[in-house]
Symmetry: C2
Subunit: 322 residues, 2 copies
């Protein structure tokens, strides 16, 4: 056990507008069947609201009738704008002032990195009730000339509230592992929105703001680098795969989720939301967690593995008792 | 004392190209004297290198002959690109693979937020040697029609290595405070580079990528909200202003630094690098710290106050024994 910290509550928000594979197919020059077969994504939700509203709605759902957090961590790849940080605007949506807010960014692994940060801040006695919010709007960065990636992405948001576990309560975080391998840095990227292809530089092209990936190489490198991190986290936790009640992976793609079968993990212990929501970047893991919590699959005391990969290439695994 | 953690070493890097107030003045329609008098910035350094090289050079200086870190935190407002995270590219510059990297973002307060995160991760036993790197290139976001802000900004990078303090060593972090006040969210901003004014949206204008601020209102709100955070951190540390050996403030502006006189702090106990480097956003505080460390003003055992404000509006104070 590394943190006597629990996820006290969860919440999620998916924007109401649904785009089906058949709706999207003509823009990509493929069929709806091709999209469903190749990516596993039947529907994705498309936001018509600002990013901070998505985050605020997920956070309100997680907070319920409870008190406000004493720290807000935005854990997303999507940002509202360069400055100020997105956490500021989520706080504004909630009418909160005087509470610190900042961001933790590790692309698709942002929620896992923020989980370790939130839990460490609580373990160290710095904060008591930390809200982690992942709000993502990658649909606006879809490259329609690249059907494989464009058909994956969807918008959504989720939040989790972290607190110290009560005396005698089994909830805790057993292990966190993460590793970044820059040899994969070019395999998944958006080149704009920074100083390299600056938004004020007339040489920056509109398409520099769109997501691109080398799916086959990314898949191969992820499978190779992910296994030791996952197995290392299990070893840190003193557990075997058979001890894990529920696997909550990043919803990278349908084929990506099926990789878990290699480890002998039965599909019924894997939370998969990719068919309905697509890949919601950093929001995928907390959305899957919140949805499983809401529908009763995730119960108190269960041993849960959060697994993910992200642009970087980074791989991460968190083992916790919910 | 909240963290038995020390800053083991520091380093900084300023790009070699210097732009003087007289060089810059004609682009702003003002004189060099106006710039020096109104902003306190005589010179600023302008990077012709990629962001990750600035960060890597500062980090190499901080690491010296020591071992690599077991975690790299990028603590900057500037990013290389939207995806992957800047930490990936700094790791790549250093030839490091397998070490986790992610970002902590709180605009100008990113280094203070990352200090608390790094120290908490060490206190919680998660990591042993954490590198925090702030690399900033705001010069490319200067709005030349707004002389007050455009004459402030400069490029630079700094790094600090955090480790657990040795037995009997006085080095520690005594107090950290931060507060975000979204009522100031519009006072300092760059509207582009996110989903609101997306880089792939043809309606996004080049000037949306430039920094703008309402200097007088920012100054007034900062002075009002900063004092209780600073005094609260001092109270948490059980210290008075007279107990602090060295003040390392964010280098917001010349007038901003002089506000410290209101608290009765003599100029000789304040590290000011604004005349030579300008406002380097999140890199300002660690650059000032590294420069004072290098020139001998900062000595082991000294009580140090890191103070800052950032877009958000956020205010923060960290009190430590170096």
């Amino acid at each position: 056990m590394i943190h006597r910290v629990r996820i006290a509550s969860t919440g999620f928000y998916a924007p109401p507008r649904v785009e089906t594979a058949d709706d999207l197919a003509p823009r990509l020059g493929v069929t709806g069947d091709w999209i469903r077969t190749h990516t596993g994504v039947a529907n994705r939700h498309i936001s018509e609201e600002p990013l901070e509203q998505l985050g605020a709605k997920a956070l309100r759902a997680a907070l319920g009738d409870g008190p406000p957090p004493d720290l807000l961590l935005s854990a997303s790849t999507s940002v509202r704008q360069a400055i100020p940080d997105t956490s500021t605007f989520i706080l504004r949506e909630l009418g909160l002032s005087g509470i610190p807010g900042f961001s933790v960014h590790a692309t698709c692994l942002s929620f896992l990195a923020a989980t370790d940060v939130a839990a460490s801040l609580i373990t160290a006695g710095r904060y008591r009730r930390v809200a982690v919010v992942s709000a993502e709007m990658p649909a606006s960065s879809r490259r329609f000339t690249e059907p494989e990636s464009a058909s994956l992405l969807g918008d959504g948001a989720a939040a989790a509230i972290f607190e110290r576990s009560a005396e005698g309560e089994p909830s805790c975080i057993l292990a966190c592992r993460m590793a970044t391998h820059p040899e994969g840095a070019e395999l998944a990227r958006i080149e704009a929105a920074g100083v390299r292809k600056h938004p004020a530089d007339p040489n920056t092209r509109l398409e520099d703001g769109l997501f691109t990936m080398d799916g086959p190489r990314l898949f191969k490198l992820t499978a190779k680098l992910g296994a030791p991190v996952f197995q290392g986290a299990l070893a840190d936790a003193g557990l075997a795969i058979g001890d894990i009640d529920l696997f909550v992976p990043h919803q990278a793609s349908g084929p990506g989720l099926r990789v878990l079968r290699i480890f002998g993990i039965p599909d019924e212990r894997v939370v998969s939301i990719i068919a309905e929501y697509g890949n919601c970047i950093a929001a995928s893991i907390p959305m899957a967690l919140a949805i499983a919590h809401a529908d009763g699959r995730l119960q108190r005391g269960m041993r849960v593995a959060l697994l993910g990969t992200g642009a970087g290439l980074s791989v991460g695994a968190t083992i916790l008792v919910f």
